[in-house]
Symmetry: C2
Subunit: 295 residues, 2 copies
C-alpha cells in the first residue's frame, strides 16, 4: 500500500468531513489522501462516548493499517470531542482533531474573549469546545443545532457567497432556503439570548460541525453584523499543514508535478456518499469503495 | 423471564415506535410489553438492507430470547420495509410489520385508489409501500421527507388537535411550528405536483414513519381539504390485535385487573430515550434499561 507514497488519512462518521479534506487539498495539492466515512454507523452525534471511541478507533486503524496513513485528521467534531485520546491510543501516527484548531482560530479572532459555538448534540454535550476555549482564556457558549445537518443533506442551502446573497436575496431565496434561514434565525436568536443572559459580549461564532461550511453564507447573513464566523474545517486544515511542516518538511506534498490523489472509502451507503459528497468536497468524489469494519 | 406472563415485543431502531406501543396499550391495557429501541445503531433510514436485516434480527432475538416475547410488532417502517423476512426467519414467533397494515387501512379509506406516502429515505427507496399498495390494487406515490424526524425530535410540533389548531393558529403558532409548517408545505406541494404529473387523483396520505403521528395535526392542516390521513402506527396496532384474536383468544390481555406492564430497553442513549420518549408514548417511559447487542 505504501507504494502510493505517504498518505494523509482523513476520517469522519459520514461525509461532512469532506469539507476538511477540501481545505487540506487547497493547501497540499500534490498529496495523497485516504478518506474514510463510517457511514454504516453514523451519526456519531447521538451515540455515547464509549460507542464513539470504539468506532473511531477501528476507523483510524483501517486508515493506518490498510491505507498506510502516516498522519491522521479527525474531520468529525463528535469524534474529536469524545474520542481523540482513544484514537491516539489506537494508532502510532500523529492525530489531529478539529476542536483545538477551531478554538485557537477563535482566540485569534475575538476581541471580547467571548465566543459562540454551534454544533451537534453530542459535541455540545461533551463541552469540548468550551473546555478548549477555556484553556485559551476564552468564555464559550455552545448550542446544539440538530436540524442543520439534515437541512444541508437535503440541499436546502445556497451556494452563492454571503455578499452576493445579501444583494440578491429576493431573487435567489427559494422556499427551501427561507426555511433554512428561519431555522438559523431561531437557533442564533436563542444562542444570543443565552449569551446576553450570561453577560457575555460575544463577537465570534465557531461552526463546530463539518456540515456547516455549506451554510456559511446563510449563517453570515443571519448572524448580527460584525460577528466573525470561524470555520473549524478550515482551521483544522491549516493546523494540520502547520504541524506537518513543524515535523520536518512535507513528505506528503513533495512532488510538485503530481496531481492530488484521493481514495474515498465508506462503510455503507456508498450511493449517498457519491451523490452528496461532491457538494462537500467541491469536486467529484469519484468511485467510493465499500469497506467492512464489522459492527 | 416468562414468569412475567406472555409478552408482546415491540421493536424500533429508535423510540419513534413508542407511538405504535401507545396505540397497542390503548387496545390491550392489561398486557405486558417489552420495547427495544436499537438506539446505538439508529437511524436505520440511511443504512443498507444487509445492515438493517442483521441489526433487526439481533434485536428481535433479544426480545424473544431475553424477554420471552411471544408476538413481535416491528414498529419501524424501515425495518418492516427492508428486513421483515429476515426477522421472521430469525425468531419462532409471529412477526407483524407496519407496512401491510398501513396499506390495508389506506385501501379502506381511498375512493380513487390513488394514495400518497411520506416516509424516510430508506423506506421510500425500498418502495415497500408502493408494492404493498399495488398488491391491494392501489397506486401509490412515495416521498422521502428527511427533515421531519429531526423536527419532531426538536419538539417543533404542536400538541393540539388539528381542529383546535385551525381555530387558534395565530395564537399558538411559534416560529418553530411555522418552520415545521413550511417544511410540510414544501414536501406536500412537491408530492402533489408529482401525483398530478403522473395523472393520479390522490385522496389519502399515509404517514409511513412512526415519528409522524406527532405531526398529524400540522399535516392535516397543511394537506388539501378532504385528504384523509392514515397513521401507520394506529393501523399496525389494530392489525396486531386482530391477529392475536384470530390466533385463539388473547393470552396477553387476560387479567383485567392488571395494570399495563412496560419494560423499555435501549442499546444506547438511554438519557435521550427517557427524555424524549414520553412525548411519543403519551406517558412517562420510566427507567430505560441499557442492553448491549454488540456491533
Amino acid at each position: 500500500m505504501s507504494s502510493a507514497g505517504p498518505t494523509i488519512g482523513v476520517f469522519d462518521s459520514g461525509f461532512g468531513g469532506l469539507t476538511v479534506l477540501r481545505a487540506l487539498i487547497r493547501r497540499l495539492p500534490h498529496a495523497r489522501f485516504a478518506f474514510l466515512g463510517d457511514t454504516a454507523r453514523l451519526p456519531y452525534g447521538s451515540k455515547s462516548r464509549r460507542t464513539i471511541s470504539r468506532y473511531a478507533a477501528e476507523s483510524a486503524q483501517f486508515l493506518v493499517r490498510e491505507q498506510a496513513a502516516e498522519f491522521l485528521v479527525i474531520a468529525c467534531n463528535t469524534a474529536s470531542a469524545l474520542a481523540l485520546e482513544a484514537i491516539q491510543d489506537a494508532v502510532p501516527v500523529p492525530v489531529l482533531g478539529v476542536i483545538e484548531p477551531g478554538a485557537a482560530t477563535a482566540r485569534a479572532s475575538t476581541h471580547s474573549g467571548d465566543v459562540l459555538v454551534i454544533a451537534t448534540d453530542a459535541t455540545v454535550q461533551s463541552h469540548a469546545y468550551a473546555a478548549a476555549c477555556q484553556k485559551l482564556g476564552l468564555r464559550a457558549i455552545e448550542k446544539a443545532c440538530p436540524l442543520l445537518v439534515p437541512l444541508v443533506e437535503e440541499g436546502w442551502t445556497t451556494q452563492v457567497s454571503a455578499e452576493k446573497y445579501r444583494g440578491a436575496q429576493a431573487v435567489t431565496a427559494t422556499p427551501q432556503v427561507l426555511v433554512t434561514e428561519n431555522v438559523l434565525r431561531i437557533y442564533i436568536d436563542e444562542l444570543l439570548a443565552e449569551a446576553a443572559a450570561q453577560g457575555h459580549n460575544s463577537d465570534t461564532l465557531v461552526l463546530g460541525c463539518t456540515h456547516y461550511p455549506l451554510l456559511r453564507p446563510l449563517i453570515e447573513s443571519t448572524a448580527p453584523a460584525g460577528m466573525k464566523v470561524i470555520d473549524s474545517a478550515e482551521a483544522a486544515a491549516a493546523a494540520a499543514v502547520e504541524l506537518i511542516h513543524e515535523r520536518g518538511g512535507d513528505p506528503f506534498d513533495s512532488e510538485p508535478t503530481r496531481p492530488t490523489q484521493i481514495a474515498c472509502f465508506a462503510t455503507d451507503s456508498v450511493e449517498k456518499f457519491e451523490r452528496l459528497g461532491s457538494r462537500f468536497l467541491g469536486q467529484p468524489v469519484g468511485k467510493v469503495q465499500l469497506v467492512d469494519l464489522g459492527g
